[in-house]
Subunit: 157 residues, 2 copies
């Protein structure tokens, strides 16, 4: 889809394929919070992938490095809504940058790419939540122009 | 779709129709934060309504009272995702209860209905954000079993 040139390296932003699912789950699990909540069996992840892939309002991004390894991921959803003058929101979930790409600015570049994708699809507001304990992530999003204006509530069903 | 009996009153949970849009926007605008950000012209809201209505992962709820007046609203979205074991999330947006129904417990009943709808569609986690200034809403969601575990970031695009 697009190429990102960063710190002498080249990354490609692509739509994730089913064959990427194990590597994407690996990225999710390689995380202080993800470690305890991701499983070994791939079936539930593949079912979830098929649902995301079939939904035209969703884009699961796989960012590939020069060796076709997955270096980062983000899940984007277009949320039309009545509030704020009928604004479409860009919902951003599951942002992860792999250890091999940290320090290259890939996280910021992927978010900038995501914002462009949202604008191109009519979104006028980006929104995401991060766990209260991820203080580095909070600084990262504030540098990218985000305001920590809301409290994010979660509840098991 | 379903009937809610509360404080001697009867409310019906229905899928919103295009003809409900002015009343729904009225509910959004009758709010300390909504007041400044909703407009007069209905066209952008009707366009947003059509997008929501056409999306099988979305349900815009209009709760009607005994006189068919809209007493409350909520927008529900099913968000499949890879993280947390391939969990589907129930994203909850734009919760509003009209002045005529306040004190009847309608807000709690509508959220409980939303949780049931999410479970029936495979969701295992509900999530929402509220503006940091809405301290009454924070207590309301905590009473309903929500944890304020996350920071909600927003950014204009």
């Amino acid at each position: 889809m697009d190429t990102l040139e960063l710190a002498g390296r080249t990354f490609r932003v692509t739509r994730a394929r089913a064959s990427d699912v194990p590597a994407l789950v690996g990225l999710l699990a390689d995380d202080v919070l993800g470690r305890g909540r991701e499983g070994e069996a791939m079936e539930p992840y593949l079912r979830a992938f098929e649902q995301i892939h079939a939904d035209p309002h969703q884009l699961l991004v796989a960012v590939r490095d020069e060796d076709e390894q997955i270096a980062a991921t983000v899940q984007l959803t277009l949320l039309p809504g009545l509030s704020r003058g009928g604004a479409t929101r860009l919902q951003i979930e599951a942002v992860r940058v792999g250890a091999s790409a940290r320090g290259t600015g890939l996280g910021s570049a992927v978010l900038a790419w995501a914002h462009d994708w949202g604008r191109a699809h009519g979104a006028t507001l980006a929104q995401l939540t991060t766990d209260g304990s991820r203080t580095d992530a909070h600084r990262f999003y504030e540098r990218l122009g985000y305001e920590p204006s809301h409290v994010g509530f979660k509840r098991p069903l």
